[in-house]
Each structure stands twice: as C-alpha cells, then as structure tokens.
C-alpha cells in the first residue's frame, strides 16, 4: 500500500485510517463492531471509486508524479531481458538521467531509451530527477543511431519534468541537443515506439518522445509547458495549476483526441503504483503488438508515414 498521499486522496486516506483504527479497536477491546466495520468498509469502497474515477487533469498530474509510480528502470526490469546498458555520449559525459541499452522485449531485440528518475533522494540527485542535460540527450541520440545501424526497433519510456534548466545545460547547448534528437528521431530508419509512463515535460520529453506509435498510460501527461509554469505566466500565480492543466489538454485522452497519441493503457484504480505488475503486463502487450505491426513494414514506407503524420499535426486555416 502506498505511503505517499496525494492531495485529492486525503479524504479517502483519512477514512481508510479510521477503518484501520476501528478494526484495531475492535480487536483489542473485543467490541464486536462487525457491523460498523462492514459499513465503514462499504463507505471506503464507495469513496475510493468516487475519488479515483474520472480524475481531473490536475489529479492525473499528481498521479503521474507519484513518487511510487513505476519508473523507466522498473519497466526495464519487468519487461526486458538480456539487457546491456550503454553509457555515454562519446563527447562529454554519461548522464544518469537517461537510460539507454540493448534489451529484449516480448521476444524482440530492441534498443531501449528512457528518462530515469530516482526512487529516493540519493538516486534522484545522481539522476537529476530524470531531467537530462545535453549529454544525456546526446547519449540517447547515439543509441538511436546505433539502433538504426543494426536494424533494432527503438522503444522509449518518457518520464521527465523536462530538460534540465541550468547554466551548464545552456552552455553545452540544451536546445541544440533537443533539436538534433528531434531531427534524428523523425528520420530514423527503424520502428519507433514511445511510451508515456509518467510526466511528459515539454522539449526534454519530446527529444525521445515520439515515433511511429505513442502509447500513453491512462494517467500519464504530456504537455508543452508544466501547468505550474503556465499558471505563473498567465496569472502570476502557480497555484492556479489545476485550472491551466485543464486548459492545456495534456491528458492521455486529450492526446488521442488531438491525433498525437495512438493508444491508452488503462491503470488500476488509484494509479499504476497500486498494481505495477498489472501495468507492466499491459504495457508489454501494447509494445509487443505495436512492434508486431511495425516490424513487418518496409522501412522507407514506415519513415515516410511517420513524416507525413508528423507533418499533418496542427490546426490552422489557409485563409482566404
């Protein structure tokens, strides 16, 4: 059971706690509260459905950021066998905020790339909370080009607040690194499957976050700007993020509606961390079926289709 309580879960958590207390009391004092307990249990169950069903965009953002939410390395551990991690950009450094490696998923040899958040503060400091520097994105690009050279389908796991916003990242060309990846991904001559597993923060997410298929977890989000930053700009008040997260249309549903994502993997009530094993199985089967469809295709056609689809994204008028 999760220890971290999200804001909107609080009423449920309180009721759950009350139920635990009641049970303990019953047991300790032999009060025979069976009926009261059953009643409370029903109440909890109902509230759970009320709380978790039809989450608002802002609630989904919280689920997507939940510290116990499965992360890239969890997916790699659960879905991948015979993993060989690749390190470094051969230029400057090895950025632990990005995982890259050879891995076998659903019986297929693949190249896997993902944002790598930590599970605790120590890991998060080393991995910079999953926010890549240019060297991380350049490592990812090296892995993309290796995948292309050896005909390995590329699978990416997207989960970042965004590319690192800092002095050194700017000095080493954060924008340049992102743009190179976009150009490379767009033309890569192997199938590319991207999976949004948590946060999809702007350019840092996009730099490994599109391809022939975009699979979104139900509570994953993908946005041009964080709802807080958007609220800051619009209202000079980042606490209005709940509003802007709705305006920005950044949920999995929105992305499918906008023609950007292809498929939604449902999560257990309460979020992926409530039953990670079930999520892993669903994600594996979604990736497997995407690869089944894509790997048979002629490569020139595949890349052309990707380009045409990318080129068709956007809503505008031609004028008079």
């Amino acid at each position: 059971m999760s220890r971290f309580v999200m804001e909107f879960e609080r009423p449920l958590a309180e009721l759950e706690e009350k139920l635990v207390d009641l049970k303990a009391l019953d047991l300790a004092a032999e009060l025979h509260l069976g009926e009261e307990i059953a009643e409370l249990e029903a109440e909890v169950e109902q509230l759970r459905v009320t709380v978790y069903q039809a989450l608002s965009p802002w609630e989904r953002v919280q689920v997507a950021r939940h510290p116990e939410r499965p992360k890239t390395q969890d997916y790699v551990a659960a879905l991948c066998s015979e993993v060989f991690e690749l390190h470094g950009d051969r230029l400057y450094g090895d950025d632990e905020a990005i995982f890259a490696g050879l891995a076998t998923i659903a019986g297929r040899r693949c190249m896997v790339i993902g944002h790598r958040k930590g599970k605790n503060t120590k890991e998060n400091i080393r991995r910079n909370f999953g926010s890549p520097h240019p060297e991380g994105l350049r490592k990812a690009r090296r892995a993309m080009l290796m995948a292309e050279k050896f005909g390995l389908p590329l699978v990416t796991f997207v989960d970042t607040q965004g590319a690192h916003p800092g002095l050194e990242a700017e000095e080493r060309g954060q924008g340049w690194a992102i743009a190179e990846n976009l150009a490379t991904l767009a033309a890569l001559r192997v199938p590319v499957v991207a999976v949004g597993i948590g946060e999809g923060g702007s350019g840092g997410a996009l730099a490994i976050g599109f391809g022939d298929r975009l699979i979104m977890l139900e509570n994953a989000y993908y946005s041009v700007i964080s709802p807080e930053a958007c609220a800051s700009i619009l209202y000079k008040d980042s606490s209005r993020a709940p509003e802007t997260s709705a305006c920005l249309q950044m949920t999995a549903d929105d992305l499918v509606r906008l023609g950007i994502a292809d498929e939604i993997v449902p999560e257990p009530l309460g979020g992926a961390h409530r039953d990670a094993a079930a999520v892993f199985a669903r994600v594996e089967s979604a990736i497997a079926s995407a690869l089944d469809t894509l790997c048979g295709q002629e490569l020139g056609g595949l890349v052309e289709k990707r380009f045409v689809r990318l080129s068709s994204i956007g809503v505008f008028t031609e004028g008079e």
Partner: protein
C-alpha cells in the same frame, strides 16, 4: 492595409545603417529612449537605420516585413502562404482568450501570423526567405507558424533554393498545447529532409530566441548567424534562477556567449547580414548564380556512378 500593399509601399526603399551624425536632424514624431545608450530617438528615423540605434548600434526588434525586405535583393520578395493563420483548437481561455490574443496581434501587426515567408533573391541567389515577428504573440510557434515553417522547408527543397530564416520567438505557443509542442518535431523533421537533400540552410537568431523554438529548426541550420547582443537560449534566465537558484554570469545567453560556447558560427551586425549571407551562399550554392564572381573557377565535382 493588407500586407501585400504594405510590401508594395515599402518596395524601393533603401535600408542603410545611418551614421551617428544623422540623428541631429530628426523630424518630430514618436520618440523613444534607447535602452542601451539612453539616447532619445525618433522612431521614424530608425526605419532608415534598420532599427539600429545610430548612437550605440543597439539592435531594436525588427518586424518580419522589415526583415525580409532588408535581406532580399530589391524588389524580389514574393510572399507565400500569406493567408495561413491560427485557429483556436483548444478553445484556450485563461485571463485573456487565445482568440482575443490572435485578433489583437493581427490588428497590431497587420500580419496573419507570426512568420512571413516567401521566395526572393539574395545576393543573386534564389532563396526561400522567412522572418518571425515578435510582436505577434511573442512570435510563439503554434500550428500555423509550424506549418508555414515546414512549408518553407518543403518549398526550398522542391525548388532547390537555399533557405534563410530570421528567427525570434518566446518559444512554443502554449495556447495550442501539445499541438504546439509537436511543431518542434514537425519543423525539425522538415529541416532534416532539407539537409539530406543537400540544400543550404542559414538561420539568423535575433533577440529574443527561446524555448521550444531554440530547440528545433533554427539550430539545425548549416550556418547559424546571430545579431549582436541577441538573447538566445532554451530556458530563460529567470526560470533558471528561480528553479535552480544558480547565479548567471554577465552576458549569459547573448549571441557572443553562444559563439564562445561553440553553438553559433558568427555574430553579424544587422547592416552586414545581407552581405554575409550572400557570401556564405556563394560557397554553399555553387553554380546557381549565372554570373558568379568567380565564373568558371568554381569547382565542378563529378559524382561517381557508384552511389
């Protein structure tokens, strides 16, 4: 006035950077203070100096129409996709609705969108030329800007014309949400195609160029130029200071800083841009100028049949 008329009205004007002494006889009109040297300037006079302060060479923002005319050989600019403009697919409404922002931007600038593109000659070279206009919602890149940029790439490729893009932008247009973010991938994909086709592409980064725009098509150019003092980066300094609490060095994210850090090829003053670009094109577009200064001396390399 429709933009086509505007272009007509402007045609024939010569742009030169005025020497400092011209400032003495400024006529009456709208006055402004140069943020760099604090001199008071007549706004109308800046039109004769490419919007460059005659006292300190501070580069003021330049409109997209002014920009394309300042770069194209006289009388050669023909606009393309002039009517293409934004819709409001998310019905985005916060303090001010996106629809309102669009309407007022159009009114203020007389433009249909934040980027102007077209065919032109530049130093005699046939080019596709585009410029972004910061006055239009911060020249942010939404679907329409992305589409116009992507079409400029496609046109350059189809007609084997070098592509010249003068960039300014606050970043992605958040009012179009993910549609806007995806324009980064879309324009980068177009840039990659042009590059593979071997067609030259030069970008000019002007003040300010930030966010998702910096992280897409502008930095994929063969040669990247920037105007003096232009601020260019992915994350803005305020966000860096707030998020990471790093103190930033003087000159951070200026064009000069970026040259030092290996990201751009050269800082070129506005008045020299046309000449610099023409010079680069003389190298990258070998053979497309019938009366190239060097005539037959251009290297004619023969490709083998083994490809």
């Amino acid at each position: 006035m429709p933009i086509s008329d505007w272009f007509k009205a402007r045609e024939g004007r010569r742009y030169t950077v005025a020497s400092a002494d011209k400032s003495a006889d400024l006529p009456d009109g709208v006055w402004l203070k140069c943020p760099s040297c604090k001199h008071t300037l007549y706004q109308g006079a800046l039109e004769n100096t490419l919007q460059v302060c005659p006292h300190c060479t501070h580069h003021f923002d330049m409109s997209a129409p002014d920009r394309v005319l300042s770069l194209a050989d006289e009388g050669t600019f023909e606009e393309t996709e002039a009517g293409l403009s934004s819709l409001d697919p998310l019905r985005f409404s916060a303090k001010k609705s996106y629809a309102q922002s669009l309407a007022s931007a159009k009114e203020k600038t007389g433009l249909a969108e934040a980027v102007v593109t077209g065919r032109a000659l530049l130093g005699g070279h046939p080019v596709v030329l585009g410029a972004m206009d910061f006055r239009f919602i911060g020249a942010s890149m939404g679907s329409a800007v992305g589409e116009k940029i992507a079409r400029a790439f496609a046109l350059a490729q189809a007609e084997d014309r070098a592509l010249i893009l003068a960039v300014a932008s606050g970043g992605a247009r958040m009012q179009e949400g993910m549609l806007s973010l995806m324009q980064m991938a879309k324009t980068s994909a177009a840039a990659e195609r042009l590059s593979r086709a071997g067609v030259p592409y030069i970008s000019i980064l002007t003040n300010p160029t930030y966010g998702g725009v910096t992280a897409s098509f502008p930095v994929l150019a063969d040669v990247i130029l920037a105007e003096p003092g232009a601020l260019i980066g992915f994350t803005g300094p305020r966000v860096i200071e707030q998020t990471i609490r790093q103190s930033l060095p003087k000159g951070f994210q200026t064009a000069e800083f970026l040259v030092q850090h290996g990201m751009i090829d050269e800082v070129v003053a506005r008045g020299d841009l046309r000449e610099s670009i023409a010079r680069v094109l003389d190298y990258l577009c070998l053979g497309d100028v019938p009366d190239a200064a060097l005539g037959a001396a251009c290297p004619i390399l023969t490709e083998g049949g083994d490809e």
